[in-house]
């Protein structure tokens, strides 16, 4: 009998296999339950391929999408539908960043503890931090141009405006190309002169004699300026966006420091925003002086992700601390604090660059053009080979106790950044503040 006792351990081993497998499965459930539950084969939450529960509202309680047993019903205003298409998603599941595609768990109210159980099978109300009206304003302000607009609260991380164009009406199948693509998160654009902010930050922290910097701009040889800026110091170089001066500054910094700074300022990072992975910026800093100069002024091979640039502006406004953006309202009271990504810029540097951004507005963009806005900004005009009209960019932030907003606006073929993107930014900011 005692022999049998020992041999019976083989049975216990078999039981262990069962136990370990079961444990592994529960672990997998905790890890992947969300995607299992929201699988389109889930007959409880999908009727003929249409989600049957959950509602999406904007920050003011405007109903954007309602899913019920009759299908998915969108807001009546077609411009609101289009302006928010990349956020809400569409009827056919073509927009991968849409809540209807990538955040179904929130609409369904999935949790590990409750599964998809809700008392009335009506799902959950999802509140966005977005202001639908402001999104519509942005969408309309872009007019016939493609582009992207993002505005967020740099103290809390709430995104208030998020628009991508081209956008198609989510209730109909798209006709135009690229309308499913969420450029703001998943795309990159040539930053043009907005990149000089990055070069400036590197210069402030690395060039001891930057205060005594002076450059005589004759309109440029290899690195061209729009006109001859004459003799400029560091501040004036940024305000007038002097390519020659910044080419020189970049070469003084060298490729190593430039590489270090795009990384340090979060431009080569990918962020996870509501389950969407943002695209990393791409920069090439060559040993070749001319090529390096081009990179330092945001041309050449530079590609920037719109969201990361908006976050950089937010960090400057927030004394150097970067706050992670989000757009699905968090009704969990315990976890309502802004998620800080840490101090990415030294406080002193932030103050200095802030003064320069203000100076840009005073000297170049005109404070009158931005009445009632305590605005800090940098424009950009990105030249594209073979494209007659350049792309316009305008990025920065406003200081306002109740409205601490940073923004990034990109207008494809918009021409001058200040005159195209700047105008869009102004309209959206006014809409948000009033």
């Amino acid at each position: 009998m005692r022999k049998l006792e020992k041999r019976a351990l083989i049975c216990v081993v078999l039981a262990m296999v069962l136990f370990v497998g079961l444990f592994y499965y529960v672990f997998q459930l905790a890890l992947k339950g969300e995607s299992w539950a929201t699988f389109e084969g889930n007959m409880l939450i999908y009727n003929e391929g249409q989600l049957n529960r959950g509602k999406i509202y904007d920050r003011d309680g405007l109903l954007l999408v309602e899913c019920n047993e009759n299908g998915v019903i969108f807001n009546e205003d077609s411009n609101i539908r289009k302006a928010l298409a990349h956020t809400t998603g569409d009827l056919y599941g073509n927009i991968s960043t849409g809540i209807l595609k990538s955040n179904v768990d929130k609409l369904v109210g999935y949790s590990f503890i409750n599964g998809i159980f809700t008392i009335d099978d009506k799902g959950e109300d999802v509140y966005l931090t977005l202001d639908a009206e402001a999104c519509k304003v942005a969408y309309e302000a872009l007019g016939s141009h493609n582009g992207t607009v993002g505005v967020y609260n740099y103290k809390t991380g709430e995104i208030l405006c998020l628009v991508n164009k081209p956008a198609s009406d989510p209730v109909s199948l798209s006709d135009g190309e690229g309308s499913y693509f969420n450029t703001f998160f998943q795309g990159t654009v040539i930053p043009g002169s907005t990149f000089k902010v990055v070069t400036s930050i590197a210069a402030i922290e690395n060039l001891d004699d930057i205060d005594g910097f002076s450059y005589e701009c004759s309109g440029g040889d290899e690195i061209k300026c729009t006109y001859s800026h004459g003799v400029v110091n560091f501040e004036e170089a940024l305000a007038k966006s002097c390519n020659g001066a910044f080419g020189e500054i970049t070469n003084e910094l060298g490729p190593g420091i430039m590489e270090e700074y795009v990384a340090k300022l979060g431009l080569t990072d990918s962020y996870m925003i509501e389950g969407i992975k943002t695209k990393k910026g791409e920069f090439v800093f060559s040993e070749n002086k001319t090529e390096l100069a081009w990179s330092g002024i945001g041309q050449g091979m530079d590609r920037i992700n719109p969201c990361s640039m908006m976050m950089l502006m937010g960090a400057i406004a927030n004394d150097g601390e970067s706050i992670e953006p989000y757009y699905i309202s968090n009704n969990n009271l315990l976890n309502s604090n802004a998620d800080s990504l840490g101090q990415i810029i030294d406080k002193k540097t932030a103050a200095r660059i802030e003064a320069m951004l203000k100076n840009n507005v005073v000297v170049t963009y005109g404070e009158k053009n931005y009445e009632n806005l305590d605005i800090y900004a940098k424009s950009g005009t990105a030249e594209i080979d073979g494209q007659s009209v350049p792309n316009g960019l305008f990025t920065g932030y406003i200081k306002n106790e109740n409205h601490p907003y940073a923004f990034f606006v990109y207008v494809e073929k918009g021409g001058s950044g200040n005159q195209s993107a700047g105008v869009v930014a102004k309209k959206v900011l006014y809409s948000l503040i009033n």
């Binding site: 049998l4 049975c11 069962l18 136990f19 499965y25 084969g41 889930n42 409880l44 409750n114 599964g115």
Partner: protein, 572 residues
Amino acid sequence: MDIIGMELPYYTYIVRWILMLLAMYILIRNVKSLLTTRVTPEVWAYLNINEEESLPITHWENVIGRSRSVDLRLKYKTVSKNHGLLLRNKDGSWKYEDLSSTNGTKINHSEVKPREYVNLNIGDKLEIGGVMCTLFPISLEEKNNNEAMRGMDKGPISPWRILIAISIFQLLTVIQLIISLGNSFDPMIAVSIFGLMLIMWAYVMGFRMMGSRGFELELIAFFLSTISLAVVSSSAPGMVFKQFIAICLGLMVLIIMCLYLRSLTRSKITRWLLVFGSVGILITNLVFGTLKYGAVNWLEIGGVSFQPSELVKVAFVWIGAVTLDELYKKKNLNLFMLFSGFCLVCLAIMGDFGTASIYFVTYLIISFLRSGDFSKFTLTMGGAVLLAVMVVRFKPYIANRFSAWRHVWEYADSLGYQQTRTMTATANGGLAGLGAGNGMLKNVAAADTDLVFGMVTEEWGIVIAVLMVLCIITFLLFSTMSIVAGRSTFYSIIACGATTILIFQTILNVFGALDLLPLTGVTFPFVSNGGTSMLTSWAMLAFIKATDMRNNASLAIRHRSSGMATYGEEVN
């Protein structure tokens, strides 16, 4: 009516948590009781050595020898490692067998022939390799002492509170089903579940009056059967009464088998009957079988269809079990090996590879229990794996059946349809489930059989589903823990064989549905819809009950009212 409509969702909202807590109470209490028992073995006699020490004989079958793994250890160099066997006869007398030891054995100074039984009487002088031993009976006083010791063992828990808990569980389940099934609620659902409640109480009360005290195993089975009825109610309401009848039959099988297994001699002889019966039924199946779900493993007799291969599982374990002296016979495995081979060939012809693998693993485990030959164990297993690889390699159509394995999400609407729905169902349910009848998996083919684990996770929650599996594991641990106090290797092997089948079946069922293994279409014991499977599960329970040596606990062991059982009478 509207008011009721408003309140209904709140019923599920609250009751699903109550059901989960009840299930935890029921199962954890039973499992804890089974796993914390420490049985003081019954003493059948004493072996006195050199008039110095007395070893208590606690089994009906004992190995005497020098080795560490024997039952009665004599630490003398002249004694062989496995010297001889001391066996208790049906009438309570003893016999001895020498296992071809080096120095031989003498009884009353005359040499004993190796490998032959010799009667050993009380007081006889047994010289084992020159060591003088004497068999002493157990005096009435000692016997009473032992009984008192055994009386102090942690006994089985009282069944009443658990019975009440299961009854509440059943009542709440019926109400939940009325709410969630609405118009498709079949009154037979209530009849079946309340019927189960009735026979459960009748069984426990009846056998309690007759002196049985341990009901943990049956209570777990009653609970699992309740889940089974609820699952069938949800996915195939028309079949629920049939399932209830299967449970009733299963309970009858349990009672009959428990009483039958009380006699070791009877149980041993029955093996031959079972060999012939099994061979007959399997051949009949091959000739007259009908094709269902891709395997010819169904037989229809008089309008009742059943799966012979399920029933033969019971015989298979029974046939595999042997007493200790049979273990020491040369080539003791040959017959069992032959029989196993026959079963496997039959199953292969039927195309039922899931069941074939269960038979094979059970064969492996039982033959290892019998031989202790680990190298043979690994060799056979390795050979089988090689064979499987070859089959898959040279028969691509079989490989195709497994092509979705571990990639089911890539084949979500074809080969991985069932598994992906099962995982989704599990996620739907959360900890406490959506409520019986509220799931979506019930609409998928084989939801209440092959995918039943998924159905339970969805409608009852992952907690109850995990507890179900832990119960099956408990059956096995209880069987292995009981070997210490076991009477005969026959009972221990039969229990370990039965629980091996239950465990391996659970592995195939659960892991198959969840894509940890290929889906083979095997049932979950006690829970899956299916009469034959239910019957077999209850029969396996009888095997486990046959090892339950707790004092007056098991129906499968005759109760000994203290002092009254007389020496010399078979304990049957």
